[in-house]
């Protein structure tokens, strides 16, 4: 699935592959986006998870973790969506944490342009468009 994403959207793949964030001291830190298959339960096809220290703005383990359901095919746009979340998180980890609320639904049109959803849905739609253009 990762390779499929890289083939279809190499530009955004490069962004995720070289992701960094700045903590509150202004230090630029590499962050790994770790993708694994697993049970996603009520989180539909996939989810992105992280923990942050609000005082310093550091991300736990300098790692953003993505879990993708094994039931989704490699051409699914779920990974594109979750990579979009990772990009938003790295842009402002504490802001992301503060903006997040339990039960947030990116697919709700009311959330389309929210800080949490916007890039994720943009990346998901871009992936869909690029995939269609290749056919």
């Amino acid at each position: 699935m990762i390779q499929n994403f890289a083939n279809i959207d190499p530009e955004n793949f490069a962004k995720v592959d070289n992701l960094t964030y700045k903590n509150k001291s202004g230090n630029e830190i590499n962050v790994d986006v770790v993708v694994k298959g697993g049970i996603t339960g009520e989180h539909m096809g996939g989810f992105t998870s992280l923990a942050v220290n609000s005082t310093t703005g550091n991300i736990s383990g300098n790692s953003i973790n993505i879990t993708i359901s094994a039931n989704f095919g490699i051409s699914s746009n779920v990974l594109a969506h979750e990579f979009g979340h990772s990009f938003t998180i790295a842009s402002n980890p504490v802001g992301y944490k503060d903006a997040f609320s339990v039960g947030h639904n990116c697919q709700d049109p009311a959330n389309r342009n929210s800080f949490i959803s916007k890039t994720a849905v943009d990346w998901q739609e871009r992936f869909d468009d690029l995939r269609k253009a290749r056919k």
């Binding site: 590499n30 923990a51 220290n53 979750e82």
Partner: protein, 200 residues
């Protein structure tokens, strides 16, 4: 003669000094629990980090916070106090390099509250909210087995009816910790600060 006199003073004062210092400092207890509760974090290029007393000493020296004392009912007569800490308000007293940050910082999801109950007489402490572990059952046993009010023991029924602490739901904790599934969605009192933010 002077040496003997000095020794006598030291000997006479020694036990007094030990026992006069028996008290329980809630902030220190919190730091110990937070340090023990903190999981090791995977690092990309880790330097050797050992979770030992040196690391604890560093953790103790770089963190500072204010505790909120919680309102309670029934506990003042048996010497218990309850303290709340918001981890997002934890101060870091020095700039940390990346290795130190990963080893020493407390990382949270959306929930950032931890509560500890403290028995000022025995010095025992109990994690009652927000930590990775929860000591409610040993807290309940200690209260019902080792305390009395007006020479009357404290039954579990009396405890659940008459003992309250703001922000704690003892009935929820009791049911949750006896439920083999430990379902955190069914029992919100099991929420942990380490539960990550999850978006989908």
């Amino acid at each position: 003669m002077k040496i003997k006199f000095l020794l006598m003073i030291l000997i006479l004062n020694f036990p007094y000094k030990i026992f006069s210092q028996v008290s329980t400092d809630a902030k220190s207890i919190f730091k110990m629990w937070l340090f023990l509760d903190k999981m090791n974090v995977y690092q990309r290029n880790p330097k050797t980090t050992i979770k030992d007393d040196s690391l604890f000493s560093l953790f103790e020296n770089v963190t500072d916070f204010k505790l909120d004392t919680l309102q309670s009912k029934g506990f003042d007569r048996i010497g218990y106090q309850f303290y709340l800490l918001h981890l997002n308000n934890l101060k870091i007293l020095k700039d940390l390099n990346e290795d130190e940050a990963q080893s020493l910082l407390i990382f949270t999801g959306k929930f950032d509250s931890v509560i500890i109950g403290l028995n000022s007489k025995t010095g025992k402490s109990y994690r009652l909210l927000g930590f990775n572990g929860n000591d409610f059952l040993s807290f309940l046993i200690d209260i019902t087995e080792n305390n009395s009010i007006n020479n009357e023991g404290i039954s579990q029924k009396k405890f659940f009816n008459e003992f309250k602490v703001e922000k704690l739901d003892f009935n929820c904790l009791n049911k949750a910790l006896k439920d083999k599934n430990l379902d955190r969605r069914k029992y919100p009192c099991l929420i942990r600060y380490s539960d990550p933010i999850i978006t989908h």
